[in-house]
Structures are given as C-alpha cells and as structure tokens.
C-alpha cells in the first residue's frame, strides 16, 4: 500500500459566486483500522483563507496546525501588518514543500481563499509543490478519483453559498462512500466575504 494511503483522506474545494467552500472527511485510520472520527484536516489561516491537507496525518498536523504554515502566516501578519493574499500563500506553501524535495512532506494541500475584491481563489499542489490552479473545483486524497467524477457532474458555476454547500456536501459524501479509507462524516466550511459557516455532515459511519 502506498504511503499516501496509510491514513486515508478526502479534501475538496469549490468556487461559488463571491464565495468558496472547502470540505474534508473526518476519518483517521491506520490502514484498515479506524482510530479517530474527528480528525481536523482543514485549518484556517485567516478569515478569508483556508488550507486542507490530505495524505500522511503526521505531516498534515506538522505542516498545518503546529509548525510551518500557521506560524509563517502569523509572522507575516506581524511584520507586514496585513493578511496574506491567497495567491501569495499558495506560493509560500509551494516553496516550503519544494525545500524538502528529496525527503518530502507526504501530503497534498488544497488551498481556498477570497482574494482581492473578494474574488474566490482555489488551487491544489502535489507533495513537492507543483501548483495547479482551477476555476471550478480542486480535489485531493485517497478518494480523489471519485471526487473528480462527482464534482465534475454536480458543479455549476456561480452558485450562491447555500447551493454551494449542498453541492460540495453531496459530492464529498458520495465520493467517500466509494472509498474504504475515507469517510465517517464530513467537515464543510463555506466562506463568504462576511462570514464563515462551519458545518459537520453525518454520512455513512463506515
């Protein structure tokens, strides 16, 4: 089994009308055994910028919560007295991942944010920092193939926040149902210029 499939994960982000949604599953497994059903894969960098990481759980935690990314952004905020733009943050993540080119962090980030004039920005990258921008949706994790299919089928451009929430939730739940390593519910953030709505989804608990 590949090391990227050791813990199991599913992350997806979608662009709406002046808003974005980012969602992940909640399972933390050690190969076939589920050991947690409330694992945080998505971190808030600032009010209009979120990052979700799929892949090896220890690297997810190291990059997001404890080290590198939140830490770097806090320093940036103190020095420059402003929040990082999503494009800038994506360049930073790409540089951090490439620093470890020959011993990489085993995760794939999904970055979603509202840029200038509240224009939504999403991107994903591989574990060594190759950026992939998209206008509609980005996916990552063990369930990525199902997520590609479900998102492609369900996505429409310029959805409002509520419809976007429905779409991303349905895409996530139906995809993780086809993947034994991810699931046990969903965690969805829908972000508009004025508020962040965080919701937990109850799906098939297997």
């Amino acid at each position: 089994m590949s090391i990227f499939q050791y813990n199991g994960s599913a992350v997806v982000a979608m662009v709406g009308k002046n808003c974005f949604a980012i969602a992940s599953d909640r399972r933390l497994g050690v190969q076939l055994q589920t050991i947690a059903t409330d694992f945080q894969r998505i971190s808030k960098i600032h009010d209009h910028l979120f990052i979700g990481l799929s892949g090896l759980a220890t690297d997810v935690q190291t990059l997001e919560g404890y080290q590198r990314l939140v830490f770097r952004h806090k320093l940036y905020q103190l020095r420059e007295e402003r929040d990082m733009k999503p494009e800038t943050f994506a360049s930073l993540v790409s540089a951090i991942l490439y620093e470890k080119r020959f011993g990489p962090y085993l995760c794939q980030p999904v970055i979603a944010g509202l840029g200038e004039d509240d224009k939504p920005f999403i991107c994903t990258m591989d574990s060594i920092g190759a950026k992939e921008l998209a206008k509609d949706f980005v996916v990552s994790g063990t369930a990525s193939e199902s997520l590609y299919g479900a998102s492609e089928a369900m996505y429409k451009p310029d959805m409002e926040a509520d419809e976007l929430f429905e779409t991303i939730s349905q895409a996530l739940l139906s995809s993780v149902d086809r993947d034994c390593l991810s699931g046990w519910g969903g965690h969805v953030y829908v972000v508009t210029p004025n508020e962040i709505k965080e919701r937990i989804l109850k799906g098939r608990m297997d």
């Binding site: 020095r79 420059e80 494009e87 800038t88």
Partner: protein, 235 residues
C-alpha cells in the same frame, strides 16, 4: 575574521552612552555630497550632486542613484563603495522575497531588512559600520514612500529630507517649500532648487542626478536631456 585581538566589536559603548563609531560614521555621511528626497502626492523624487574629482572622469559611467527593484530606488550620502555593498545586499533580499512569495517586496519590508543588515555591522566583531545614509524611494500598494536609513540602522519615513554636506540649509529650504499636495513635477523643481541652494558653481545636467517614481510604479533615473528640460523650466 582575523585573530582574537580583533574579535571584539568596534562599536562598544562609551561612558556617555554613545557608540562612538556610529557618531564617526555619521560624520563621514555629513561630509559626503548632498542628496535629498521629496515625497509628492503622486510619486517620489530623489536627487544628488554628482561632483567628480576631475573633469577627465567620464561622468556618464558614474551612476549614484540605483534601482533596488523595478519600483524602489535609492540614493546615498557618504562612502560610495559602502553604498555598492548595501545595494547588492538589498537587491538580493528583494529577490529572495519575490522568489518566496511571488509578490514584489513592499517598501517598508525592504527598508526594514536593509536597516537590519546595517545594524548587524554595528554589533559584530571585526567589522566597521557602513559610512552611508540611504534615501529609499518607492511606490507600492501603500502609495509613494520615502525612507532614510542611517549608519546606526535606524530608519525614518520622511515627507522630504536631505543628507550630506549642506543638510541644514537644504532642510530649512525644504521645510519652507514643501506642501502636502505637491505633485511629482513640482517636487522635481523643488528638488533642483534645493540642490542649487548649497551648490558650488553652476548646476547642470552633468553634475546632478535625479531619480523619480510615479503612479506607474516604475523607478528610473532621468536622462541628462530630461534634466536639462527641468532646469530650463526652473530658470
């Protein structure tokens, strides 16, 4: 950095609480050629005397005003070779920021990082402080900005400032002439008049240098022909 006899810092405190080497560095700056900067409502201008040691020097090969990035320029008073070193270090820092964030470095950040380098040379063993004060002119998302950095590493934001030989006359002149809503062309005229104040001899496009940046966010040094045009307007 040499043997142990020279591994102490030259900038050790004097009993009166001063760092004597920095005071001497400021003296070196104060005997350098005059330079000045003015922040207008829609841009920044920096200018300096360009007095060459002999008429045989090819003045076109000497450029005192330099770009640090496409939208940030710098001029100095003091020791030319020290300036060259600082320009090189600042350019590298700006490029490193660009490589990391894929975004041009804000003026305040570049000034801060350059000032940090200058300060390091006041607290290390076996080195001496830089004998230059810098005037950094830039235009970024926060608008036009003008900063002065001293040999101690302290930096200040100015609406208009001068450094070098004629500093007190120049600053008095600028205080009288400066207005908040000045536009870039007015500022260039005022800069020329300020240089003329303490100039020994006749000001011409061959013995002054002017750099400007406007809302187009491109810093450039004026050609001698352009300086001649402005000089004609000032007369």
């Amino acid at each position: 950095m040499g043997d142990s006899q020279y591994s102490f810092s030259l900038t050790t405190f004097s009993p009166s609480g001063k760092l004597v080497q920095i005071e001497h560095a400021l003296t070196a700056v104060g005997s350098g050629q005059t330079s000045l900067g003015i922040k207008a409502s829609n841009g920044v201008v920096i200018a300096t005397e360009k007095k060459l040691p002999s008429i045989l020097v090819d003045e076109a090969s000497v450029q005192k005003i330099q770009n640090l990035t496409p939208n940030i320029g710098v001029v100095y008073s003091g020791m030319g070779p020290d300036f060259r070193v600082l320009v090189r270090k600042s350019r590298k820092q700006a490029e490193q920021y660009l490589r990391l964030y894929k975004e041009p470095i804000p003026v305040t950040q570049l000034v801060r990082e350059t000032a940090t380098v200058i300060q390091e040379f006041t607290q290390s063993g076996g080195v001496r402080p830089f004998g230059v004060s810098l005037l950094v002119a830039g235009y970024d998302d926060k608008g036009p900005q003008l900063y002065q950095v001293d040999p101690s590493g302290s930096y200040f934001s100015w609406k208009a400032s001068a450094m070098g030989k004629n500093v007190s006359n120049a600053k008095t002149f600028l205080e009288k002439r400066y207005t908040e809503d000045m536009e870039l062309d007015d500022a260039i005229h005022t800069a020329i008049l300020t240089l003329k104040e303490g100039f020994e001899g006749e000001v011409s496009s061959k013995n002054i240098e002017i750099g400007k940046i406007g809302a187009d966010k491109v810093f450039r040094v004026l050609t001698p022909a352009e300086i001649d045009d402005y000089l004609a307007e000032v007369e």
